[in-house]
């Protein structure tokens, strides 16, 4: 999904840069700039893929574990009882690919339990399950 966004952005930027440089400095500059943009796009696409692959989550008996990150690796353990609410969002491009993002909110701003790119059915299941577990395990503040 992110890669689709990236490809789109890359192509648009490449076209724009190519046109500007082509008009201002001639064909050679146009070719070089387009190439640079395309390489940058490919690189970030690779980063995004790695980032996506590093993103995992695990439902345990008492808590949810979300791990992510390539450069900075983060792993959050959020107990179900601490969940305040579950948020499911789906942006326009996410909707295009039938995906959505599930986010757990706790009272702490730093908890950072976000799972992007879930299939619609899976996100609905996760949301229901988390809500149910949250209710049964609620420990109050």
């Amino acid at each position: 999904m992110r890669r689709a966004e990236l490809t789109l952005v890359t192509v648009i930027v490449a076209l724009a840069v190519g046109l500007i440089f082509g008009a201002a400095l001639g064909a050679l500059a146009c070719g070089i700039s387009v190439l640079v943009v395309l390489v940058a796009g490919a690189l970030s696409s690779w980063f995004v893929r790695n980032r996506f692959r590093a993103w995992r989550y695990q439902e345990r008996h008492e808590d949810l574990i979300v791990a992510r990150g390539v450069m900075v690796r983060r792993l959050s353990v959020v107990p179900y009882g601490r969940m305040q609410f579950v948020e499911v969002t789906a942006g326009p491009i996410e909707r295009l690919f039938n995906l959505s993002t599930v986010r757990l909110h706790t009272a702490a701003a730093a908890s950072d339990a976000r799972i992007p790119g879930l299939e619609r059915g899976e996100s609905a299941r996760l949301r229901d399950r988390l809500t149910e577990l949250g209710e049964s395990k609620a420990a109050g503040m």
Partner: protein, 499 residues
């Protein structure tokens, strides 16, 4: 006033002087508008429409507000009704009251009235305010509101008496000897403000400006004008700290620590033991020669912010603006139980990543809290009760990965409060994550004897048994090992009702 309070069902008005006192809030605006007209009029009397209009409008509004505002205590709810055009009726159930703050702005102090702010559990936005009541009524209402407490056990003030009726609890609660836990002498407070980073910045600016003024007067004027805003805001910050924390006193009360402070506006607020999310002790570099430190607590449910979201509804309060290590220990002992876990330093590789603060880094945990120390210039010690931990995270940056290190964060409710086991070896971090999640789960599940009970009972535990229900919903409630259970009874029939 006394009979007025007891006359249930009768609506009460606020103090007749409240419209006048409310103008005090607008005083800066009024003064400013007067000044502006004066300046615009080039020294002579300019048109006074605006300032006079503002004053008159605020008087009228204040009076109308006073006319349409009324309150009463009806059974176990406090009702406040107000609003002429948009009617606003509030019901505050006494059982859910978290804390009652008494606030006295300067003008209110002169007129002998005070404002009551009532904070409820859970909801952020629907706090109640009674501005203003006469001082004796304010104190009386506070006692009355706090009489049906959520936290204190059957001994709330009645010293071991098996079944205290509300009246005796009130009278003994009112006459409870006050035990001052800490106070801050004015000299020390002024010293602490003088030795803060802000003052240093101000001094540096002043010196730089002076030097400039001698060497290049024109530049100095320009730079001075540019910096004026910052200088004023810094000075304002210093002044606010001084004014807010003047005459600081922390007093032990059955429901928590009662804090009294303020120079012009005095505030009396309660920090309930059970709502504390984290305790922080700060020792800035400049204070270290004096051995001073500052204590702050994060409390849930104080939110004046109506927004819903992460970290909202948690306020940070100074529990000790500046004090000796001994004062701090005394308070910490009361608040978090005082057991100091064994602190361990990070492994030697961490020296490469944090060469400066390495010697200060340490962290430890026991079954109740996680404690950690971070920072070199501003040494901060954080206590997070595991019962309150929101999530546990392991974070590993690129440098840490190369060195085989990782940090473990225990997040407390709020914007950015956490205990941080910084730069531990990877194996230790993994163990920590597992162990801390396990411990916090255990801590949540059986909440052991809460500190409020320990503090109010003075070491003598109340035997388990049936006692009058503190929430007032049922006749009796079962008390077991320092906590109220969900078991209730009415006329011999038992039921379950969550507190």
């Amino acid at each position: 006033m006394r009979q007025g309070l007891d006359r249930e069902g009768g609506w009460q008005r606020l103090h007749p002087l409240s419209p006048l006192t409310r103008i005090g809030r607008l005083a800066p605006v009024i003064v400013l508008s007067f000044l502006l007209t004066f300046v615009h009029g080039n020294g002579q009397q300019g048109p006074l429409y605006y300032p006079v209009g503002i004053t008159a409008a605020s008087v009228v509004f204040g009076f109308v507000h006073w006319l349409v505002t009324r309150w009463k205590i009806e059974g176990d709810t406090l009702r406040i009704e107000t609003g002429l055009i948009r009617h606003d009726s509030k019901r505050l159930p006494l059982a859910r009251i978290q804390a009652v703050d008494v606030v006295r702005p300067l003008l209110a102090r002169l007129l002998g009235v005070s404002e009551l702010r009532i904070r409820l559990a859970g909801s952020g936005g629907s706090d109640g305010r009674l501005a203003y009541l006469s001082e004796s009524t304010a104190l009386e209402v506070r006692e009355r509101l706090l009489r049906t407490p959520a936290a204190p056990g059957p001994v709330a003030g009645a010293g071991g008496q098996a079944a205290p009726d509300p009246a005796s609890a009130l009278s003994s609660g009112a006459s409870l000897p006050e035990h001052i836990m800490a106070s801050v002498p004015s000299g020390r407070l002024i010293g602490s403000v003088a030795f803060s980073g802000l003052t240093l910045v101000l001094l540096a600016i002043a010196v730089a400006l002076l030097v400039l003024a001698v060497t290049a007067p024109k530049t100095a004027a320009a730079v001075g004008g540019f910096l004026a805003v910052y200088i004023f805001s810094f000075a304002g910050g210093l002044w606010r700290r001084l004014a807010n924390e003047f005459h600081f006193e922390a007093v032990e009360a059955p429901e928590g620590v009662r804090v009294r402070r303020g120079l012009l506006q005095t505030v009396s607020e309660t920090i309930p033991y059970g709502r504390i999310q984290a305790v922080r002790k700060m020792e800035p570099l400049l204070w270290r020669p004096m051995g001073w430190c500052r204590l702050e607590v994060d409390i849930a449910g104080g939110g004046r912010t109506a927004q819903r979201g992460e970290g909202s509804g948690v306020v940070r309060k100074a529990l000790l603006p500046v004090g000796s290590a001994q004062d701090a220990w005394h308070l910490i002992d009361r608040l978090v139980g005082g057991t100091q876990p064994v602190m361990t330093p990070p492994p030697a590789q961490a020296r490469k990543k944090a060469p400066l603060s390495y010697h200060f880094l340490s962290a430890g945990y026991d079954k109740d809290h996680a404690v950690c120390v971070t920072g070199r210039v501003r040494k901060v010690t954080t206590w997070v009760p595991l019962e309150k931990s929101q999530s546990i995270r392991r974070v590993q940056g690129p440098v840490q990965r190369r060195l085989g290190l990782a940090s473990v964060h225990i997040d407390a409710a709020g914007k950015a409060t956490r205990a941080e086991f910084r730069d531990r070896s990877v194996a230790e971090a993994d163990d920590l994550v597992e162990e801390l999640s396990e411990l916090s789960r255990a801590a949540r599940q059986h909440r052991t004897v809460s500190l409020a009970e320990r503090a109010s009972a003075g070491g003598s535990p109340v035997p388990s048994g049936w006692y009058p229900d503190p929430s007032g919903r049922h006749e009796q409630r079962y008390w077991r090992e320092g906590v109220w259970t969900e078991h209730v009874s009415d006329r011999g029939a038992t039921a379950v009702d969550l507190l």
